[in-house]
């Protein structure tokens, strides 16, 4: 391989890995909820849209950045507990598929409400991070992507610390491990689920702001779930590490395929390539890379 070609390859790879981090950010929100309540929360994308749209609209109405962030966070907390109360609690002990379909309905409600409330126009979002690429050994790297990756790393670190060293984190892990045992030792499932959905709302807010700054805050933001799903499948629905590694693989694979494979099939393959990649992995490991092994009993 020529030197220049190699540099170009590295550049594509790094760009892909960094955009993969953005996918991981969305996927982590799914994992949090799936781990503790066994629900594949399709509404995560809608929550992301809702958080970003609320924040942008508040800022546009002249509310300072930090205050807007706090208000949005409060709203996400309220939303988390409201969802627990109105959707999850009545559906307790139903099959995972029923819960999944309920979150499909939920995503319709949140998307509709977000746009009914704040309008459907596209909002620009400036986080004060400039998106100019800079050069490292002849490879161009976007500063924005780096900041996003740093934020994602900080969030994963924070979440892991939270899961490992706090009481409520311990309760989360207990619920994730065995709901009935957790109930038996007196953990309050309802409150824990409310908290988990709040945490997922927080992740949605962070991801929503970063994606919103990239794409503009608009309806299509809720479609990033479709980017996160192959990441989840690849990494396993119940592993945060899996979400990160899956995101990196999907991001890198997608960009490399687009550049090296795209020209042969006419381009535009990013819509489905991640799914094909995830499927190929799944055929070898049906539980994802880091997912739990399923034991079947009659």
């Amino acid at each position: 391989m020529e030197w220049y070609d190699f540099l170009f390859f590295i550049e594509v790879l790094v760009g892909g890995l960094l955009s993969g981090v953005m996918y991981s950010l969305v996927a982590i929100g799914f994992v949090l909820i799936y781990k503790t309540s066994g629900v594949l929360n399709f509404a995560q994308g809608a929550m992301l849209l809702f958080a970003a749209l609320t924040f942008v609209s508040l800022v546009e109405r002249g509310i300072p950045f930090a205050l807007a962030l706090a208000i949005t966070l409060l709203i996400m907390v309220a939303l988390g507990f409201a969802i627990e109360r109105t959707v999850l609690r009545p559906l307790v002990n139903r099959s995972p598929m029923t819960l999944f379909m309920a979150t499909l309905g939920l995503s319709y409600i949140i998307e509709g409400a977000a746009q009914l409330l704040w309008g459907t126009q596209v909002h620009g979002l400036d986080l004060g991070i400039d998106d100019t690429p800079f050069e490292v050994y002849g490879v161009f790297i976007s500063k924005f992507d780096l900041v996003a990756a740093g934020l994602a790393a900080a969030m994963v670190g924070g979440l892991s610390a939270f899961f490992h060293w706090t009481r409520i984190g311990l309760a989360f892990r207990a619920v994730a491990d065995d709901q009935f045992a957790a109930l038996a030792v007196g953990l309050r499932l309802n409150r824990i689920w409310g908290t988990v959905w709040t945490a997922a709302g927080f992740v949605a807010l962070v991801a929503g702001l970063l994606w919103g700054a990239r794409l503009g805050v608009q309806f299509s933001l809720s479609l990033v779930v479709l980017k996160a799903l192959p990441v989840l499948v690849l990494g396993g629905f119940d592993s945060i590490l899996g979400a990160i590694v899956g995101g990196l693989i999907v991001g890198a694979g997608e960009k490399l395929a687009e550049v090296y494979l795209g020209p042969f099939v006419g381009g535009g393959i990013e819509g489905w390539f991640a799914y094909a990649l995830a499927l190929a992995f799944l055929l070898v490991r049906p539980g994802g890379l880091f997912g739990k092994k399923l034991v079947e009993r009659v």
Partner: protein, 348 residues
């Protein structure tokens, strides 16, 4: 899937009451509706209703009866529609019924390929992998001009609808054509779900491992469910393209359409035949009612954007409400009402 056990039909004896209602409906649909229906009723309500019912019927076989959640129904509709267009375009004088069957078979082939992951994957992993079908098919149809005879935006137009020399191009004609197709496929589906194959579907849904233990060929059953379901959805796609819209593009078969078909069977009732029809009727009529009610209550204030959003909210809320209150859908509500009426009349 939280679907309750199905009442088994009485074997051997033909339960006359079970066929009374469908027969009566068919008589009305064939002989009364064409005489009294306005072209608005036919074009805007009955034709989409028939196509969506058939698609939902197909998905219900796969998801309701066999327990394999699919989020790619619109892709199989698109496969059917574009296959029919191409068969009709490229083979001279191919009769319409043959085109329909060939289109269904093409969709079945596509469905089987995308159903292959079901041999290894379960539940959510499978549901997500069916999204691959959704995105891949839409991409391929837009990307390769051959599928739409090199139309720049991938749009296809319906051909003249001729069966045995009779033209079915008027609204009434298209309605009768779609009705006939739906009636035949529905009858065959009823046969299927009461056959050993149908029992196998249910066994795989209720407990895959147990089904394997009692000797149900699980892998073959799953692939068969994908194939038959895609066949029906493919034929529904042809009805959608040829009898309802007349002009379709790949973007019309997007993820929202897939979700719509899934919602139809959830709202109508999983693992029931009439659930598909009740749900489809609901999804065709409900938006019209909502828009009428909206413009009646708020006049000009209610623009199409607001309407669209409130429609999303109401549909989402209804789905959650139904899942909570009646997981077996509207068709189970009907049963309950019927049972109560029966009690009132002093029947057991």
């Amino acid at each position: 899937m939280s679907v309750h056990a199905l009442p088994l039909p009485l074997s051997g004896t033909l339960d006359r009451r079970r066929f009374a209602w469908p027969a009566a409906l068919l008589v009305v649909a064939y002989f009364v509706v064409p005489l009294v229906a306005t072209s608005y009723l036919l074009e805007a309500i009955l034709l989409p209703f028939l196509a969506l019912s058939l698609a939902a019927l197909g998905l219900n076989l796969l998801t309701g009866y066999c327990g394999q959640l699919s989020l790619g129904s619109a892709a199989f509709m698109a496969a059917g529609a574009f296959a029919a267009y191409n068969f009709n375009l490229r083979i001279d004088g191919l009769p319409l019924p043959v085109t329909l069957v060939l289109a269904g078979l093409t969709a079945a082939a596509v469905g089987t390929v995308f159903g292959l992951p079901s041999l290894r994957l379960k539940g959510f992993y499978l549901a997500v992998s069916t999204l691959a079908a959704q995105f891949f098919v839409q991409w391929a149809l837009t990307k390769f001009g051959w599928f739409s005879n090199d139309n720049p935006s991938g749009v296809i137009d319906a051909p003249k609808l001729l069966v045995a020399g009779l033209a079915f191009d008027t609204a009434t004609g298209r309605y009768l054509l779609a009705l006939t197709v739906v009636a035949i496929v529905t009858a065959l589906t009823v046969r299927l779900v009461n056959s050993p194959t149908g029992r196998n579907f249910i066994a795989v849904r209720d407990n895959e491992t147990a089904a394997r233990v009692i000797g149900v060929p699980v892998l073959r059953t799953k692939l068969l469910a994908f194939a038959i379901s895609s066949f029906i959805i493919g034929v529904a796609g042809v009805l959608w393209a040829f009898t309802y819209l007349r002009t379709v593009e790949p973007a019309g078969f997007n993820l929202d359409r897939s979700f719509q078909i899934l919602f139809i069977i959830i709202i109508g009732g999983l693992a029931t035949i009439r659930g598909a029809f009740i749900g489809a009727a609901f999804f065709v009529v409900f938006p019209l009612i909502l828009s009428r009610a909206g413009s009646f209550a708020f006049g000009g204030l209610f623009d199409s954007g607001v309407l669209d959003m409130s429609q999303r909210i109401v549909i989402g809320a209804l789905i959650i409400l139904l899942l909570i209150l009646e997981p077996r859908g509207i068709s189970a509500l009907f049963d309950r009402v019927a049972a109560r009426l029966g009690r009132l009349r002093g029947r057991p």
